[in-house]
Symmetry: C2
Subunit: 140 residues, 2 copies
């Protein structure tokens, strides 16, 4: 029961097969903190294992999402972006002047989301919050 198990370790425990392609893809995801989309993952994984194909990347991303090991994000553009799921959920702030993505977490905000859901008779299962912002200093 390691504190931080790697994706591959968790796949193995779950009975998934550990292929070289899957290993490369997981390594890429663990080493990327920039919310890469499928094509990004593909390009980076090819450097680790030249046999990785694009459809293999898509299949593994889907597999990992289904396993609950990574999350698919919708950050405004038409492509899905991915990140390894961490124990602490968080939201995203998109810098409209640079495209940078800032991760944040706010307990008060989390509580309020649940409270609002409850007010309407619901129990919060999941959520997506993206804040699109400009730097304070910017004029636009």
């Amino acid at each position: 029961m390691t504190q931080t198990q790697s994706l591959i370790e968790r796949i193995r425990e779950a009975g998934g097969k550990v292929t070289t392609q899957r290993t490369a893809i997981c390594t890429v995801l663990e080493q990327s903190d920039d919310h890469p989309h499928a094509e990004d993952v593909f390009q980076r994984a090819k450097l680790l294992d030249s046999t990785v194909s694009l459809s293999c990347v898509y299949r593994n991303l889907k597999y990992l999402v289904d396993q609950g090991l990574i999350d698919a994000l919708d950050l405004g553009d038409s492509k899905h972006r991915y990140e390894v799921r961490r124990t602490t959920p968080h939201d995203h702030l998109i810098d409209l002047s640079t495209g940078d993505v800032v991760e944040f977490r706010d307990a008060e905000l989390d509580a309020l989301k649940r409270k609002v859901a409850s007010r309407y008779g619901y129990r919060l299962k999941d959520h997506r919050l993206a804040l699109f912002c400009y730097p304070k200093s910017a004029t636009t």
Copy 2:
């Protein structure tokens, strides 16, 4: 300066042309409160004007978004969904057991979003919040 101007009235004021197709599309949007996607709008608009084409729908949706008259939403699936923009912004709660979309607004939540953005040195320009929920009574 009518309280509630129709989309077509606002298009005319802005100098846009009022075609039968555009009128049908705007009528559909104004009569739909279920956040239709492009194909939905197309099917409904065809009933009002059989000459409406799918590309015309896409072009007009884009046009209306650019004009700030409607909003494009990302509610989890891969398609854009649309709604007439109202004076009061709001967020969305998705009922995972039925797929229903509940609109809500919470001033405290709005203020907190701005506060969080500010904490990171940003000014909130826009945001997307979707709460995925189950009814309180549901077991899952």
